[in-house]
Every structure is written in structure tokens, then in C-alpha cells.
Amino acid sequence: MNSFLQLGLRYRGTAAVTSAAIIVALLAACPWLMDTYYLNLLFMIGTFVITCTGMNLLIGYCGIVSIGHAGLMATGAYVSSYLSTQAGLSFWVVALAGMLMSLVIGSLIAIPTIKAGGVYLSMITIAFGVVIHEVLIRWDAFTGGPLGISGIPKPELGGYRFDLKSMYLLVLAVSVLVLVLIRNLRRSAWGRAMIATKENEIAAASLGIRKFAVQYAGFAFSAVLAGLSGAIYAHANSFISPDTYHFQTSVQLVLIVILGGAGTVLGPVVGATILVFLPELLQMEKLRMALYGGIMFAVLFFLPKGIVGTAGQLLGRKIRGYAKTGPSPARERNSETPQLFAHASSSGAVMLELNGIHKHFGGLHALKDVSFSVATGAVHSLVGPNGAGKTTLLNVISGLYSANQGTLSLRGKSLNPRSLSDVTMLGIARTFQHSRLFKELTVLENVMVGMAGRRRVGFAHALLHTPKQRRDERVMEERAHLLLDLIGYEGDRDMPASQLPYGHQRMVEIARALATEPDLLLLDEPAAGMTAAEIGQLEQLLRKLTAYGLTIILIEHHMDFVQRISDTVTVLDFGKVIGTGKPEEMLTDPRVIQAYLGAEEVAAGA
């Protein structure tokens, strides 16, 4: 059994493709294998798969739960139907028009939705869905009011008029295509950027990822797919009415995604199949909605990752268990880092200069007249008691906060950061006090996300897995491996980052920050929680980095570590700089000791 599984693992790529091909072929044969009743059900499943794959992207990768997507399906359905019944245009043209209109409306919805968050986000989508539904009922001239549009013609292609069988095949083809697209996206920089933003917006921004661009892309994709699905359904059914597109439909769409498993590729297929077949199986006419409500509840409570998601998790653990029995594929160790740090050491003597920085939070004066400069290529440590303002200062430098007064200059030029992602593009990278690795991504992917800010190919390339995109992926993967080598990571690189031991997490975070190609690195308590051995590794890494010309600003409490590694130390207390100088001087300075210990008279000597 063991060796069988290992054989299967080695050829799992080919095995997957072959089994998929067989299944698709079987499905394609269905029109000749079953009667119209069941074929129609399969057709319905197909239309759901199209819409819900788009929503899967939105919910699973972007973390945006839209409870109004029925409105986007309606847009596609109604616009295409209006054009084909009133203007006599061909299906292929009106379907495109429907998709376009859905994109437009989807964009309108996306803007306030992405700006908001949490509860408000879902409320906004609900409101939009309701508005669209009301428009469908009231705008008689265009929508036919409560009676809807009927007599919608079936598509035609070169004289051949589609029937249920061919509509089914069309839907099957589109479904398969759409599933391939989302799979491609997951393995691209766009997919990683979406997941990163969903998990931890601030960490993603610190890597140069712009939340709006990434989430809008997800929204647009889902809107277009919903519109297409709507158009197809309308032209297969010949009749549409507002009843099909109200709030409860939107809820069903969400249910399909979470039942199958948000973020998995096959989730919507499983979810749609269950949702379409179950009431038929149970022969339910009444209480159908109650059943759906119950299923939703059960999923949220017992199976939050959905069916495919949970299965994937269980199998994943097993497979990883087996995979470890073999030797890991040998990669040539390359301890040189050729083009990793392109910008390094081209900056002149002073990397960063702070002058008179003040920062208030309401009544709290967190930083008072902070001034010092950081030399290029130096390790500059910031020390001070709890609450002295060290992290606040780092936040000001990295653009998370803006200073109320004072100036910052980077490489001699005035620095006015408006956001974390701006600052990252200028060459400043940072890590955080508490680990912010992206748990859903693997170790390797975490590091690759760091490159998303500078090197992301276009969305279309990512979807279609073009040769350009494949080349770029290889380059990024190679760089990521090199960075992991640099930090001395020897463990499994395909493991989800959530399983990393703590010390490794901190180091991988540094690798991720390095992936943004910075020349100034800000580290917030990197040694916190590390064992002595791990701190040794950290020291080695920092020395290597400065050898490459990087400048490092470091907040730390392990004073011996600070002493060994720093060129300069700045001491903060109560938001003020007590002094800046060489570590031996600063750490034995009586004022510093007093700041830490609170002694008025300090015990003699140290």
C-alpha cells in the first residue's frame, strides 16, 4: 500500500490530469446517457459552478463575502436577454454585453465594499443586491417588471440552433475552463497576493501589495463570471424573472461556496451538486429553504473548511507524512546571492535621517523631537524601556503612521510616506513584533509574496498561465529558494507556514521582507522568543546582509545581542532620544541604566 501511494505521489501530476480528462469525457457523454430531467439538473449545476467559481475567488482568496451576487447574475441575464429579444443580436454578442455590464456594476459595488470591512462589507453587498432586485421589478420598460422577459432565443452558431444538449456541452466547456483559470490564478503571484491581503492586510501592504488593486481584480473576475452564467441561463431557459435573483439566491450562492470549501478549486462543483440534487433526492417541496438554512448552519459549525477543504486537509497531512519518507530532491546549494540585492550600497554615507519627529495620538505625545541619522551599511539599534515609542518610531519610518512634525529623509531625499506599500517600493522593508506570516501559504510562497510588489505580471497572464508567466514564476521560485538558503532554512519548503516552529517563523519573515529587494531593513524585536542558537543564526544573517551593503535598523531587548551586532545604538525613553552612540558607551551610560531600572542613584559601576 505504501509503495503504491508513493508511486501515485511521484506521478501525481500526470495522474490528476488523466483522471480529470476521463471525468470530463464522461460528463461530455452525459447528453446521450441520461434523460432531459437529469441533464437539466447537470446544466443547472454547471451554471452555478461558473458563478460560484468567481465567488470562490472572491470569498476564498480575497476574503470578501458578497451576499448580493445574484444581482450580478441578473445583470448579465437581463442585459443579454433584452438585447437578443429587442435588438435581435446574436447570443455571442449579447453574452459579451452582459458580461461587460456585470463588470461595470460589479466595479460600482467593489469600490465602497473594498474600502469598508467586516460587517459593513457584507451589508453593502446585500444592499446592492436588493436594489438590483427592486430595479428588476420596477423598471418595466427594460425588464418587463414582475413578469420578466420571455421568448429569449436559443443561441445560434453558423445556422445550427442550440438545444438542451448543446447548451449543456457549452456550460460544461465553460465550467472546465473556469476551473482551470482559477487553478492557474492560485499558483500565480496574483493568487498569493490576494490570499496575503485577506489574511493580513498590513503585512501584505508592507510587501508592496496594494489592497485595492488585488481585491478589485477578484471582484471583477467574479462579476464577469456571474454575468456570463446569467446570460447562458437566460438563453437556455428562454424565460427569466425577478424571482430568480433575490436575496435568498445570493445566500444560496454563498452556501455553495462554503459547503464545497472556499478557496479550493473543486469546492463549487461539490457544493453545487449537493445543493441541486439534495432537494430532488429528498423530494422536498416545502421547507426547502429551511433545509438550505440548516445546511449552512451545519457547515459553519462543523465543517468550516467545507467538504473539499476538510478532505484536502486530512489527505494533505497523510500525504505529507508519506512524502517525508523519501529524500528531498537535491537542489544545488548556492550560497552566493547574485542579484538578490540590486540596489545595495549605491546610496552615499547617510541612509536615513530623522529630524525633530513628533507624533501624537490624541493626548498622548508618543514621540518628542526625535532626531538621529543612520549610516549606510550600518546596524543601528533602537533600545528603550517598554512604551518608550520604539515601535511607533518604526511605524513612522515605514509609513504606517505619519509624523505630526519633523522631517524624514531617505538617501538624502525627503521622505513623505503615505502608505506602507509606497515605502516598500522605495526600498524600505520591515518585519513586525508579532509573527505575521501568511498561514495558508507555504513557506516558499510566503517568501515569493514578497516579490509581488515589484514583479507581478498582468492578471490575464496569471489567469492563462502564459509562457511569460511561467518564466516569471520560475525566476521568483529560484529567488525564494536562494533567500531561504541565505537565512539558513533547512526544513520543508512546501509546508504551510502555520506549521513552522516559532524561531523559524521569525527568520522566514525576514526572508520575505528581503524578497522586496530593500536596501533598508527594519526589524522589530526579531530575537524575541528565540533560543540562544537561533539568535546566533540571526546574528550570522545580519552580518551577511550588511556585507551585501544593506542597512539595518533593529529594535531589541536582548542587550548582549545588541552589543555584539550594532554599530550604533539610539536609546529612547518616554518618546525622547536619550542618546545615540556606540553600543559600549550607550549601554553603560548611567542615564540609560536609570531609564531601564528607574534608580535615582545608580549602584556603582556596571
Binding site: 516559532y502 531600572l597 528607574g598
Partner: protein, 238 residues
């Protein structure tokens, strides 16, 4: 009053506390000092029950309280004044104080509450002046007085203080520390976690220095104040 033996706490992969042993008697003030991240707050949270220990025994007033939740321990007479002065900003000073009665509503009569209030106002006249003001308009020092008073209203047997001096000017800190001494005189046992080691040791009878989750060393305050090891361990120079 309080006895801790072999306490160990882990957060996932991190060992926050390793085999802590600690003793505290009624009316005693004991300081727990150490650098940032050494585990001091975790210690207080374990005693109160906000964090569940993995190993070890905590005994209070003769009873084991190791795995009890925060509401149970609070009812047994342990109060925590957390780091960062968690006041109820939109409520008035008086309302904040009234909340200190917690679950003892009924059992503490109105007169008793009034008496407690009177002694609090006497100790901290500024709280009396501001009794109808919203707590968020108070200064840092006044908020610290408020939180301290609120903890005292329920007449705890054990008071846990987490960095009461944080962010306060030295003069105010002296005020607060003087009040803590008074409280201890009244029989309350006080466990005082501080970064301002010398200040803490000046009112405590004994101290424990925590480094990286373990008790590095301990002793009488007078001894510790002279101890060279303090500066070294404190600044993490090994």
C-alpha cells in the same frame, strides 16, 4: 497566602514560563522584576486564571486555584490591575468605582460601598473632585489611581499589579507607590510587577528577578538593590 510551585506556561511553541516558584504572605509586598518579554505579565495572568498553566500548582489561601477561571478566582479575592490602565472611558469615575463591586452586589450593602468610597476619596482627593467626570478625561496618573481603587473596593486578599508606573511621571509614581504601601498595611498581599526595578524594590520586602521565563534569582529587597547581578541580568548581559 499565595504559593506557586513549578509553574510552566507555553504559548504554542514558546515556553513563556519555566518552573516558577514563588511565595507571598498576607500584608507582604513582593516585587517581580525583569526585562521586557521575560514573562512577568504571563505570571500574573496565570494566577488570575486568564491563562491556563501547563504544569505546576498555584495555591491561594490554602486552596488550589491552578486551573480556575478568572471569574472564580476573582470571587475568591484576587484582583488584577492590568498593564495599560483599562478604565471604562465613557463611564464616570463613580460608575467605574461602582463596577468594582462586581458580583458582590447584594452582599455588599449600600453603606459599605459608601464607606469604601469615602476612604478612597480621602486617599485620592482628585478622584473625588472628578467623580462625575468621564474616566477618559482623567490624566494617566488619575486613571491609575482609579483602577487601583476599583480593584480595592472588593477588598481583595491578593492584589496583582502589572506595571502601574508605565508611562507615568516619577512624582505620580511615588504617590501611587505610597498608596500601595498603605494597602499592604491593611493586610492585602501585593504582587507587584514592574520594569522600574528600584522603585518597586523600595516598597517591596522581597523581589524575584525573572529572566527568559525563569526565576534568575531572588532575595530581600535590601540585598537585591546592592546586587551587581541585577544590572547584568536586567540588561540581559550574561
Amino acid at each position: 497566602m499565595l504559593s506557586i510551585q513549578g509553574l510552566e506556561v507555553r504559548y504554542g511553541a514558546i515556553q513563556a514560563l519555566r518552573r516558577i516558584d514563588l511565595e507571598l504572605a498576607a500584608g507582604e509586598i513582593v516585587a517581580v522584576i525583569g526585562s521586557n518579554g521575560a514573562g512577568k505579565t504571563t505570571l500574573l495572568q496565570s494566577i488570575l486564571g486568564l491563562v491556563r498553566p501547563d504544569k505546576g500548582v498555584i495555591t491561594f489561601d490554602g486552596k488550589p486555584i491552578t486551573q480556575l477561571s478568572a471569574s472564580r478566582t476573582a470571587n475568591l479575592g484576587i484582583s488584577l490591575v492590568p498593564e495599560g490602565r483599562e478604565v471604562f472611558g465613557t463611564l464616570t469615575v463613580l460608575e467605574n468605582l461602582r463596577l468594582g463591586l462586581k458580583n458582590k452586589i447584594g452582599s455588599t450593602s449600600k453603606e459599605q460601598f459608601e464607606r469604601e468610597l469615602a476612604s478612597i476619596y480621602e486617599r485620592f482627593p482628585r478622584l473625588y473632585e472628578r467623580r462625575d467626570q468621564q474616566a477618559m478625561t482623567l490624566s494617566g496618573g488619575e486613571q491609575q489611581m482609579l483602577v487601583l481603587s476599583r480593584a480595592m473596593i472588593s477588598k481583595p486578599k491578593l492584589l496583582l499589579l502589572d506595571e502601574p508606573s508605565l508611562g507615568l511621571a516619577p512624582i505620580i509614581v511615588s504617590d501611587i507607590f505610597a498608596s500601595i504601601q498603605e494597602l499592604a498595611k491593611g493586610g492585602t498581599a501585593v504582587l507587584l510587577v514592574e520594569q522600574m526595578a528600584h522603585k518597586a524594590l523600595s516598597i517591596a520586602s522581597r523581589g524575584y528577578v525573572i529572566d527568559n521565563g525563569r526565576v534568575a534569582f531572588q532575595g530581600k529587597s535590601s540585598d537585591l538593590l546592592q546586587d551587581q547581578r541585577m544590572i547584568k541580568a536586567y540588561l540581559g548581559v550574561h
